[in-house]
């Protein structure tokens, strides 16, 4: 039995110490993933918390027993989408400039972050999962619900796009 399966079994038996252990194990990665999709640290913390709350609520579902990591990322993705939708519907016109804050921050941080942010949403998500969160291709496919081959081709296409953009920016020598 894997460590993960063992943890789940203990939680099922009602030992909540193991629930803490499971959360502590995945919290940093889920928080980082939420940070990619939210404006700031506070919202990312809220999103990460909501992710684990949903995980607990749907804990009884057997379908994801052997792929907790992918399941958590899937929940996190849904939480971030929900938060974005809610924020858009609540946002007043004068606050619209706030939406770009996260992007501006990313621009200051690194060219790579800016380039990833500029990718189409479906490619951006896969690049974040694969390179930002270090998920395997199979896990990326589980999270996004896409076939493995689609994940591979989209990633390839995203990488080509980033490479092209870097070359345009005169950085081609760095990778040769």
């Amino acid at each position: 039995m894997t460590r993960e399966a063992n943890l789940l079994k203990k939680i099922e038996q009602g030992d909540l110490t193991y629930l803490d252990e499971l959360i502590a194990c995945y919290y940093p990665d889920i928080f980082r993933y939420c940070l990619w999709h939210t404006e700031n640290r506070q919202t990312a913390e809220d999103a990460a918390q909501e992710t684990f709350l949903r995980f607990v609520r749907y804990f009884d579902r057997m379908a994801y027993r052997n792929k907790v990591k992918a399941y958590l990322y899937k929940i996190a993705a849904n939480v971030c989408i929900d938060m974005r939708t809610k924020r858009r519907s609540e946002e007043l016109p004068e606050n619209l400039s706030m939406r770009e804050r996260g992007y501006e921050e990313a621009e200051d941080e690194a060219d790579f972050l800016r380039l990833v942010r500029n990718l189409p949403q479906h490619q951006q998500e896969l690049v974040i999962l694969r390179f930002g969160q270090d998920l395997t291709l199979r896990e990326c496919a589980q999270v996004t619900g896409l076939p493995l081959r689609t994940v591979q081709s989209r990633l390839r296409s995203a990488l080509k796009k980033i490479e092209r953009q870097l070359r345009k920016g005169g950085k081609e020598n760095e990778y040769e």
């Binding site: 913390e45 709350l53 390179f131 990488l159």
Partner: protein
Amino acid sequence: MNMNKKLKQELSHYGRGEWSQDSLQKTCAAARAAYGEQDRKERIGFWKFVIRQIRFAGGSLWILQAAVLIVTCLTLDIHLHAGASGYGPLGFVLSLASVATAMTGIPYLCRSVRHGMYETETASRVSFAGLLLARLLITGIGNLIMLAAFFALASLKMPLSINAIGYMLLPFSVIWLGIMVLMRLACDQLLPALCAAYSIIIMAALFALYQIVPQVFGQSSVLIWNIVCIVIIAGLAWQIRTMAKKPAYMDGVSM
């Protein structure tokens, strides 16, 4: 440096170390509280679930099937006494009886849709595939007994080859295939009515076929009935497999 490695190196630093121990503690506390609020249910095995389903609703289904069996047997007996003999008339009445048999399962299979009960049932820690399989099993047992009784009664009146079972199995599987398709696609309270209407249409089609081309029910056509029957049963199996994944009316259920 390789593009993939460089990208991984750059992106993996993003947000690292920004989370606070305090927020992790808060999350753990909130998750513990949420776990405590959950109404933990006992996990039950498939056969235990089938027995519970029999006690819950299977009994009434079997009573209905027994009533239909008695009424149909009496009708069949009267019809056979009235001079219906030979493969043609027998094949026709057997096919009608099999449609009536298949129709008995409609109220039971559609009961969740009728009462909007899927939320409750999927919360019972049994997968939808398990729920569907249990229902098909309970309905199927009653139906098989009914079909066997009809065939035995018809055999008493006239010696029938085992191939004549195709007269019953073909309309029966056509009805079930239609019910499965409707259950997979339909998503409203009209589902039981749609299934019943479909069965009545098949019954009317059989009647029309008997009136227009009675040779279809003749002994020479038995082989064709059986071949078509195998194809339909294969389609039915595929349909059940597809439906077990998730039917349309489950879309509203939070997963």
